[in-house]
Structures are given as structure tokens and as C-alpha cells.
């Protein structure tokens, strides 16, 4: 079946078998490998992307369900030489070790900051509850998101 989605502002189409997940379509058909396959059952959050602004586990959503909708992946957050504020803070705080969870983490954090520009620690933890990290212990991830919030509150640009 043909599926057309707007990915990172560009309309993309692919002919996929009906059982194809959004994650498989992004990674295999569209070559966007930033969203990762970690567990394939919606536990780990490594595949998190935004669908119409909401964070979803792309491994649990069928590509067909996203037909005609808007998707943002980690690749949509930065230019080739520029980083979004969230990415800058993940860089500055070294909020990752192996890096496998980072794209999903950043997307979940972006979904939060888009709605709530200076969240509390509890709100950050809640927003990232669906994203697992086995290396860091989460502290630096939360610090990075809080720092973006603090800078936004201090008048810097939006995440």
C-alpha cells in the first residue's frame, strides 16, 4: 500500500506491506535511521518520533496510521552544522554514553518543551518515563532538559 507522510517538513511516499510499522518505513524505506529499534514492543522509547507534535513509539504505530500526517524525527531537529538548543545541552552536559537512547530522549524532551517551555524536574521525569537509558542513570539527561528550560525562561530561543 502507498503511504504518504510529511517527514521533517518534506512530503515522502513509500509503497509498503500493510504490516509495516512507522519505524520500519522511516528506517528502511526513507533511510532515516535516527530513530532506533531497541525492543520493538514499546518499552524502551529509542524509536520515539513526533506524530502531529505528540511523541509516539514508532515501533508500535503502523505506517498506514500515519498516512497524511506530520512526522518529526531526530534528523529534523538540526541542520548539518547547527544544533537545536536541546541538542546543544545534551552535548554540553554529555547526557549520553553509548548514544543509542539519545535520539528518542531528545524527541520526548522536545515534545515536552514545545508545550511547557520551563518544566519542573518532576515534569521532565514524567515526560521521559518512556525512554530507557542503560548507561547514564538519567541525571545528566534531566539536567540538560532543565537547562534548556532555564535558558528559555531567561529569554533565550525556544527549543
Amino acid at each position: 500500500m502507498d503511504v504518504t507522510i510529511t517527514v521533517n517538513g518534506k512530503e515522502r511516499s513509500a509503497a509498503v506491506p500493510p504490516e509495516t510499522t512507522l519505524l520500519t518505513m522511516l528506517r528502511t524505506n526513507l533511510g532515516l535511521t535516527g530513530a532506533k529499534l531497541g525492543c520493538d514492543v514499546g518499552d524502551c522509547g529509542a524509536c520515539t518520533v513526533l506524530v502531529d507534535g505528540e511523541p509516539v513509539n514508532a515501533c508500535l504505530m503502523l505506517a498506514a496510521q500515519v498516512d497524511g500526517r506530520e512526522v518529526v524525527t531526530i534528523e529534523g531537529l538540526s541542520g548539518f552544522q547547527t544544533l537545536s538548543p536541546l541538542q546543544e545541552m545534551f552535548d554540553l552536559f554529555s547526557s549520553f554514553q553509548c548514544g543509542f537512547c539519545a535520539p528518542g530522549m531528545i524527541i520526548s524532551a522536545k515534545a515536552l518543551l514545545d508545550k511547557n517551555s520551563s518544566p519542573t524536574v518532576a515534569e521532565v521525569r514524567e515526560a521521559l518515563a518512556g525512554n530507557l537509558c542503560r548507561c547514564t542513570g538519567y541525571t545528566k539527561i534531566i539536567d540538560a532538559v532543565m537547562e534548556v528550560g532555564a535558558r528559555t525562561a531567561a529569554g533565550a530561543e525556544r527549543a
Partner: protein, 462 residues
């Protein structure tokens, strides 16, 4: 502010190459800092990196989603592999029929254990088949591999493979497995590694102790759960060389294992270690690399294999569950005079890194305490469970839980403060370890004092 430490470090390396005292050859950066050129830095000397904020050189690819883990790579004409795993924890394989599976759409090749030139591997003992051939020893044993055009097609074909098993009695409890009449998993005994440490006269010391405490502690199996599952791409090149891209952490060891299992010279095998999405010890040995290599040879195409999360849990290695029996003789003042420890490490179906884990666990099981009379007996035992191998600490976390819990019990029994009883027994500079190694740079006393001070231990326990 981000300070570029890389440059200063490089300067230091240049400095090292200059003759000591050759101030003319000292780069300006080092001269400005007023440091004399040095071949070897003094002990405890602050390197320029300490205390500086650094950004990681691999930061940008990670946070922009551009890092290429194995599963992010593909090659023209690449096939996908899935593995059928055992239905039973212990069974003889009577027959394998792949004919129906091979007729499935997209299926290009299958592979069984009998097709592997040398079907065994392992870092200590080569007791583990790459794919089980004569029998399965736990539910995670791979039996048949399928290579197909898509992952889904490979997955679908697994259901069409027929394997006839003859169930065997199984043993899941390591203490049961140690008994003479228990079902045997390999050979004649399930005990496959033993470590013994003896020092002084433990029985005599226990007899004259004011108090003898005994306790059993046990820990559970732990899976590493790396975010990135095990993943490999194999390519059999037209010149007869093989190229393996793998999430393997120890590629040199992996290469030797490949050479052994494929029965080919090591110089024809290239193993490329890629960026790994979490290892924690679980990616320290080969898993399906030889299978992918042979499927690549059979098909003449690159083959990718990525573990499912289930594969990861049932077939990759885990942390050993330990059963630890402690018996400690202590005087009224809290001085420990004797300690006996028996460790039974549940190794699961194959040895993997059990020997290493057992050795380290045995040495550390006494704790960081000066005890003159010791007896440690440690055993690694086969059971029909997921294989246990390397995981951060190699046995250290298990025994730490044991001896520190035991220490708290002893302190309570004697009515001594738990911190105080530790301070009365801990290693000092020059203390011998249980195996006689003289220890230097021992800071356990200072560490305990510092922690107690920072957390307000005295105030809280008064």
C-alpha cells in the same frame, strides 16, 4: 565555556618526545604554564584534563541521530537472518527438517549446526555450540538460522522448520546440579570450575572465636539489556576473505573465535568493531557471527543479523546468580579471626566467562578485611538456564552483597556500630589480600571516614 583539552594533551605528548631540559624545544603552551618537560609525569600529578569540562568527540553524531550502529547500515543485495531457538531447556535433537522453510517466499538459505566446521566456542572452555547440533542445553540455544530477503520473511520461515526433540531430564537449581545423581548437562559432572583459597588454620580459629555467625546470601540472574541488541553484518568477499561488522566489544578475541569455528586462517578474517549501543560485558564474545559468515558464503550476499529483544534475554549471557554461604568467627571487640566462604555460581548452560568471574568472586568474597584464617571454596555449575558470562565487576557485586550483609549482621549481634566494626577490620597500607598480594594505595579507611563525615553518620546513629 568549552575548553579544548585535546590541544593541550597533544602538546604534552610532543613535550614528552623532547629531551628533558631542552627548553628551546618546549612548545609555547607548556612554557607558559611553567612546566618543565617531563618524560613520565609524577604520581598524583594533575593532568590538564582533570577538572576541565570537555565535550565528547563523538557527541554530534549521537545527538543528531547520525551515528551508524550496525542496524543503521545496509549493503546492496543484503539478506536478513533470524534464528530458531530451542523449545526445551534440555533435549536431544533427533531430526531437523528445513525443507518447508526453504520453500517460503524470500528465503534464500538455511543453516544448521552440522554445517559449521568447528561447532564450539568459548573464552575458557569451548563448550558452546554456535548452533546446537546434538542437543539443546537451554531455551536460548539457536538450532536453525534462516536468511531471507526481508526480516519478516526470515521470521515467517522459522515457523515452518520442524525439529524433533527427545526431552531430557533437566536441572535448574545449581545446588541440585552439584549432586552426583543430578542430570548431567556436559560430560560427567556439572561442576566445571573450582577455585580454592586457604590461609592460616580456619577451623582452629573458629573454635577459639567468641562468636561464630553463619548465613546464606543469594543473588539473582541479571541481563545487561543493552539498548542496542547484538547485531552483525557478514560479507564473504570474492577473494575468499570475510568481513564482519559487529557490535562485539572484544574484536580480537572474536576474530580468533571466528578463525576457530570457521576453520580458516585468522588473516583472512576482518572484524570491524562498530559503535556499540551499550555492552556492559554482554558483548564480549561471539554469538551468531560464524552463522552469518557461513550464510554469506552460502548465498554470496551480505547478511545482517540483529537480535530481537527476546533473543537478547534468552540467548545472550547474563550475570551469574551466586549462592554464598558465609561462616565467620569474630572476637567480642569485633575483630574477625576466621572466615569460611562457599560460593556456588550458577553458570547456566555454558562456561562463557564463568571461570574468570568465579576467580575474581572468590578472591573478593572475603571483603576488604584483614582476616588471618580463611577458606574459600567456589564452584561454577552448569544448569539448563541462560548462560552466564561477563557483566560489570565479574562476580564482585554478588560477593559484596554477601560480605557486607554478613558484616551488618555481625555488628548487630555484637552490638557494635556497623561503621566501627568495619574500621576495626579493614585493609591498611601493606595489608595482604586473601591470595597474598601486598596492597598499596589503600584508602578504604579514609574513604569510610569521609563518607561517614559527609552523611553525618555519627549524628544519625546517636
Amino acid at each position: 565555556m568549552v575548553i579544548k583539552v585535546e590541544d593541550t594533551l597533544r602538546t604534552d605528548r610532543l613535550t614528552d618526545l623532547k629531551e628533558a631540559g631542552d627548553s628551546a624545544g618546549v612548545p609555547a603552551v607548556a612554557r607558559e604554564r611553567g612546566r618543565a618537560p617531563q618524560i613520565v609525569p609524577d604520581a598524583n600529578q594533575q593532568t590538564p584534563a582533570v577538572g576541565q569540562r570537555v565535550t565528547r568527540p563523538d557527541s554530534r553524531p549521537h545527538i543528531t541521530g547520525q551515528t551508524r550502529y550496525i542496524d543503521d547500515m545496509s549493503f546492496p543485495n543484503m539478506l536478513h537472518m533470524k534464528i530458531l531457538r530451542s523449545e526445551y531447556a534440555h533435549a536431544r535433537i533427533v531430526n531437523i527438517d528445513v525443507s518447508e522453510a526453504e520453500k517460503m517466499p524470500g528465503v534464500v538459505a538455511t543453516l544448521t549446526g552440522k554445517e559449521i566446521p568447528v561447532n564450539s566456542f568459548g573464552p575458557s572452555y569451548q563448550d558452546q555450540p554456535v548452533l546446537a547440533d546434538d542437543k539443546v542445553r537451554h531455551m536460548g540455544d539457536g538450532v536453525v538460522a534462516v536468511a531471507a530477503e526481508t526480516e519478516q520473511q526470515a521470521q515467517d520461515a522459522l515457523a515452518r522448520i520442524k525439529v524433533d526433540y527427545e526431552k531430557l531430564p533437566l536441572v535448574l537449581d545449581p545446588l541440585e546440579a552439584m549432586k552426583e545423581d543430578s542430570p548431567k548437562i556436559h560430560g560427567e559432572s556439572n561442576i566445571y570450575a573450582t577455585k580454592v583459597i586457604r590461609k592460616g588454620d580456619v577451623e582452629q580459629a573458629l573454635a577459639r572465636a567468641d562468636l561464630v555467625m553463619e548465613a546464606r546470601f543469594s543473588t539473582q540472574m541479571v541481563e545487561h539489556v543493552p539498548m542496542e541488541p547484538h547485531a552483525t553484518i557478514a560479507m564473504w568477499e570474492p577473494d575468499g576473505r570475510i568481513k564482519i561488522l559487529s557490535s562485539l566489544g572484544r574484536i580480537t578475541l572474536g576474530r580468533a573465535d571466528m578463525a576457530r569455528t570457521l576453520d580458516m586462517p585468522v588473516n583472512r578474517i576482518q572484524v570491524v568493531g562498530t559503535i556499540v549501543g551499550g555492552n556492559f560485558g554482554g558483548k564480549n564474545e561471539i554469538t551468531t557471527e560464524p552463522v552469518l559468515a557461513l550464510l554469506a558464503r552460502k548465498t554470496g550476499r551480505p547478511v545482517k543479523g540483529v537480535f530481537t529483544r527476546k533473543d537478547e534475554f534468552v540467548s545472550s549471557t547474563t550475570r551469574h546468580p551466586f549462592i554464598m554461604d558465609y561462616k565467620t568467627g569474630v572476637m567480642k571487640d569485633g575483630r574477625i579471626v576466621a572466615r569460611k566462604v562457599r560460593i556456588v555460581a550458577d553458570g547456566g548452560a555454558y562456561c562463557s566467562w564463568s571461570e574468570t568471574t568465579l576467580g575474581k568472586g572468590a578472591i573478593l568474597s572475603v571483603g576488604p578485611y584483614r582476616i588471618d584464617n580463611l577458606e574459600v571454596k567456589a564452584y561454577a555449575v552448569y544448569t539448563n538456564k541462560t548462560t552466564c558470562g561477563a557483566m560489570r565487576g565479574f562476580g564482585a557485586p554478588q560477593v559484596c552483597f554477601g560480605y557486607e550483609s554478613h558484616m551488618d549482621d555481625i555488628a548487630r549481634e555484637l552490638g557494635i556500630d556497623p561503621l566501627e566494626i568495619r574500621l576495626r577490620n579493614v585493609f591498611d597500607e601493606g595489608s595482604p589480600s586473601p591470595t597474598g598480594q601486598v596492597l598499596h594505595s589503600v584508602a578504604v579507611r579514609e574513604s569510610l571516614d569521609t563518607v561517614a563525615d559527609r552523611v553525618g553518620w555519627k549524628e544519625q546513629t546517636q
